[in-house]
Amino acid sequence: MKNNWWKILAVLLLVFTVVAGMLSDVPRLAILNETIRNLYFHVPMWFGMILILFVSVVYSIKYLRNPTVKNDVIAYEAAKVGILFGVLGIITGMEWARFTWGEYWSNDPKQNASAIGLLIYFAYIVLRSSFNEQQQRARISAVYNVFAFAALIPLLFILPRLTDSLHPGNGGNPGFNSYDMDSSLRIVFYPAVLGWTLLGIWIVNVKSRLEILRQRLYENA
């Protein structure tokens, strides 16, 4: 129970996010209207993705310094959960874009950058599956993981800022800061980010424990 408090916290935060996110008062803005509630679901996905991919990179670096099965498994599972968050982020973003920009995919720099970012991590999965030997697979995919993360940073944080974009926060569109006046959004937004990220870490935790147990079983069988 002592070690599980954060799981309970995650559940409580997510229940709060869903309930308050759907029912609470939001600012009435033109075009956005009720879609502003997507802030509680779409934006935390990207925050969660970056954080969980960062966890993956940290474990890849740890693997390179200290090659254990545990570090490799955690890096892999975290990358997979990061991809899951990224896919959900793209889907929620596309749904939102359908009602505000008029189309699911309007060739926006941010949409393109996130699609490319996902391609990088799909390539990571393909790379992993092309090795048979466990140690070689672990080491080389760790190298690629670090390399890919270094390439992802300019893609997600620098390039979209150089070009005009329809996305909130770019090209003169209102970003997160212009909602400053309305603290009611923040009351739900911060718990949402924390809740979704904790959920992601929980999934990584369960999946990597399962994977480590499975490998141990195969070894002994």
């Binding site: 490319i116 391609l119 080491r139 690629y144 893609l155 620098i158 390039l159």
Partner: protein, 222 residues
């Protein structure tokens, strides 16, 4: 010490290249036949391409050329020679030497490709020095990031496919910048308008070289 090693390894690669002439001539033929295919499939009807199409086509040809040229950089080394290097030089020396060598190779190929392409498909470029600068930066950028990727791919079994899968996503940001710079140069815009992209491109190159320098020893060991 490291500098001497790099110099020596680059010299070795150049001499090998000069003796075999296999990779370079192969790539030359690859470039010219691709350009010619483009000419046949585009140029026959109207004779002149739109500027954006011209630009995009050139960069796509260059991208595929560099992927094919650089994919060889680690595959052509046989096991025994790699083992020999492993015992006498440092991994940092190897990756830096490969990057330098591939950059030289790509510079030559990119310039030849541009000249041939401009001859065959017409030359709508307004600001040629700026366009050449974007070509040079492109050659450097492609070779820095692809060298590391080819090192990774050469360890896997089906490395041809893997090379493309791994490299394209990593190279797309670079390609977008390059296409923008070269488009600005084609339209003869003021040079200051491409400054942002130039700096970002240089920064990406720095990141890639640094990361390759740090990571290659781990790759080398396996």
């Amino acid at each position: 010490m490291l500098f001497k090693e790099v110099l020596y390894l680059v010299k070795k690669d150049l001499v090998l290249e000069w003796r075999q002439k296999y990779a370079f001539n192969g790539m030359l033929l690859y470039v010219s036949s691709t350009v010619f295919v483009c000419f046949l499939s585009f140029g026959m009807r109207s004779g002149v391409l739109d500027a954006p199409v011209w630009n995009a086509l050139l960069w796509i040809i260059l991208l595929f050329t560099s992927v094919n040229a650089i994919a060889k950089s680690f595959m052509q080394e046989n096991r025994g020679r790699l083992l020999y290097f492993y015992s006498i030089v440092s991994p940092q020396g190897v990756i830096l030497a490969k990057i330098v060598y591939n950059t030289l190779l790509m510079l030559v190929l990119a310039l030849i490709c541009f000249v041939f392409y401009a001859l065959v498909l017409g030359n709508p470029v307004d600001d040629i020095p700026m366009f050449l600068l974007s070509l040079v930066l492109g050659a450097i950028g492609f070779s820095t990031s692809l060298t590391m990727i080819s090192g990774i791919a050469s360890k896997a079994s089906n490395n041809g496919t893997l090379m493309a899968v791994l490299s394209f996503p990593v190279i797309v940001p670079m390609l977008l910048m390059l296409i923008k710079i070269s488009k600005n140069a084609m339209d003869g815009l003021e040079r200051s308008s491409s400054l942002d992209e130039l700096l970002t491109l240089l920064a990406i190159n720095m990141i890639v070289v640094t990361v390759s320098y740090i990571l290659f020893p781990y790759l080398w060991r396996s």
